[in-house]
């Protein structure tokens, strides 16, 4: 590091002289970026983006699906590559034989389902593109249970507005979680995937099940899902913004862009 610094310093002096005015503009932008009023004004555009998307398309409009030949040779892993709780590691050891998914919250008929019961339900297979907020994309085939089937079985209350996904993994020190609205929750391509590229979902991609919500970015695709909860208020969960990255990284809750 110190060598690099010495090497760079000469250039830095030259650059500093020419960029004084630019730095002034920049510090102005940084100051604006820290300004609460300006931030909330920018933040309001997120709602505009979601409203525009919802107005422009049918609520069931499908994300593009691809052919087997389009699948990425290596699907990049990101986020957690395993969960580390004793409970999860125990499930992993027994190949998820005793793992149970809970569907509860604002539902009339809470569910407790094993992996076999999930796999026995009607499934959907789709080859879709996964887009990371950072900019990269990877394509894979996903097989899983449409979320809407579980929500219909659980009889979600009319007052519920969101579906929250509680995950087994911690990212950093905090538990991962995510949430989507009911339009996306009932979307035909929104599945709890237990299969990937023709195999059981591998651990690094979220075994035993992960969410696929195909019209949004990667951080919405929660892995290692343990519990699904219907709610009318996201502010009472964890950091209150509806998802791990929304709480920790200040990313937008609606990730359609």
């Amino acid at each position: 590091m110190t060598d690099g610094r010495k090497f760079l310093r000469r250039r830095d002096v030259l650059r500093g002289a020419t960029l004084g005015s630019g730095a002034l503009i920049l510090s102005g932008c940084d100051a604006l970026n820290e300004n609460a009023t300006f931030r909330s004004a920018l933040r309001r555009v997120d709602g505009l983006n979601q409203a525009t998307h919802r107005a422009l398309m049918d609520r069931a409009a499908l994300a593009p699906e691809f052919a087997l030949s389009d699948i990425s040779p290596v699907f990049k892993t990101n986020g957690s590559v395993t969960a580390t709780s004793a409970e999860y590691l125990g499930h992993l050891q027994s190949n998820f034989a005793d793992w149970r998914l809970r569907v509860d919250g604002m539902v009339a008929n809470p569910l407790v389902l094993g992996l076999d019961a999930l796999r026995a339900m009607p499934a959907r297979t789709q080859i879709t593109r996964h887009d990371c907020v950072e900019g990269w994309s990877a394509i894979a085939q996903w097989q899983g249970t449409p979320l809407r089937l579980l929500l219909q079985q659980a009889r979600v209350s009319n007052r519920a507005k969101y579906i929250v996904f509680h995950c087994a993994d911690n990212y950093g020190a905090l538990p991962y979680y995510e949430s989507i609205d009911l339009v996306d929750a009932y979307h035909p391509q929104t599945i709890l995937a237990w299969g990937m590229n023709g195999e059981s979902l591998p651990v690094k991609y979220g075994a035993p099940i992960r969410l696929r919500v195909e019209r949004q970015l990667g951080y919405k695709q929660a892995k290692y899902i343990m519990r699904i909860e219907a709610t009318d208020d996201l502010s009472k969960f964890y950091g209150g913004k509806g998802g791990y990255w929304e709480d920790v990284g200040d990313y937008e809750w609606y990730a359609g862009i």
């Binding site: 760079l8 830095d12 730095a23 998307h53 990371c132 990877a138 990313y251 359609g256 862009i257």
Partner: protein
């Protein structure tokens, strides 16, 4: 009473109000979009062709570092860019391993979330501004009168003469009509580069892929759209650089005044160069 009638005879109307408002709005908005876009690029400083592409795949462009040096690689050709691209120092003298240095990005520090918020908000102003400017320029005759290349202008001799005049730094920029090179670059930016920026930007949205899947076919997939977005931004930046050089060479005070007031003094003056059309 018409403003042009009230003006002295040596003042001619140069830029329509729509042009002037859009010009200055765009100067700010495009700068913010470029700088926040460079921050977004820093989150994944590689570009690909096709539908997918990640660190696991071949990137045609990479701006990265070797921990001690920064480099840009295009295809198989690489060049060291330590100090500017890939690896640079921040204002406190600390080494930053980012593609574009802090002085070129909004915010100046690494924040993908903040950069996205700026970018996706100002993109609305950019798209609406361009749409209003295009419609306004169609209605006020700017496109037909000033940008439309007439049949008589399409001659190799005229183009060659234009190139010669530019090479000799003789510009007839300020005399009421645009020359051919000027028209072609304005047409290229207004009708090709800027719409490409907007459409490739929309193509990167997974939700918009469901709404308007034809955009993916148009640009050859999401990662191709991301590459084209970057290339169009480069072309836009080059246009602005050349534009600013031209303004400086052809009388910056007159040029800026005309773009602010809409009028331009046509009486012969010491700064009048080039031929009259």
């Amino acid at each position: 009473m018409d403003a042009t009638q009230a003006a002295p005879r040596d003042m001619t109307k140069r830029h329509h109000i729509v042009t002037r408002i859009w010009h200055w709005l765009n100067a700010v908005v495009a700068t913010i979009l470029l700088m926040s876009g460079l921050m977004i690029f820093n989150a994944h400083p590689q570009l690909y062709w096709g539908a997918f592409g990640s660190r696991e795949d071949y990137a045609w462009l990479q701006i990265d570092d070797t921990r001690t040096t920064g480099f840009v690689r295009v295809g198989s050709a690489g060049v060291e860019t330590t100090g500017v691209l890939g690896l640079s120092l921040d204002s406190t003298g600390d080494v930053r391993r980012v593609a574009f240095p802090g002085w070129a990005t909004i915010p100046s520090y690494y924040s993908l979330a903040a950069a996205r918020r700026w970018h996706l908000a100002f993109a609305w102003l950019f798209a609406f501004g361009l749409t209003v400017f295009m419609l306004g320029s169609l209605l006020n005759g700017h496109i037909y009168k000033d940008l439309h290349v007439r049949r008589s202008e399409w001659s190799l001799g005229a183009i060659w003469k234009d190139i010669q005049n530019h090479a000799r730094l003789r510009f007839d920029h300020m005399h009421g009509t645009y020359n051919l090179l000027q028209k072609l670059s304005y047409i290229g930016v207004i009708f090709v580069v800027l719409p490409t920026m907007i459409l490739t930007g929309i193509t990167m949205s997974p939700a918009m892929n469901a709404a308007w899947p034809w955009l993916l076919d148009l640009f050859g997939g999401r990662q191709s759209a991301r590459s084209l977005h970057f290339i169009a931004a480069t072309l836009m930046t080059l246009f602005v650089v050349v534009h600013l050089i031209m303004v400086l060479l052809s009388g910056p005070i007159k040029g800026v005044r005309a773009m602010v007031t809409g009028r331009h003094i046509t009486a012969s003056g010491p700064d009048q160069v080039g031929e009259r059309p």
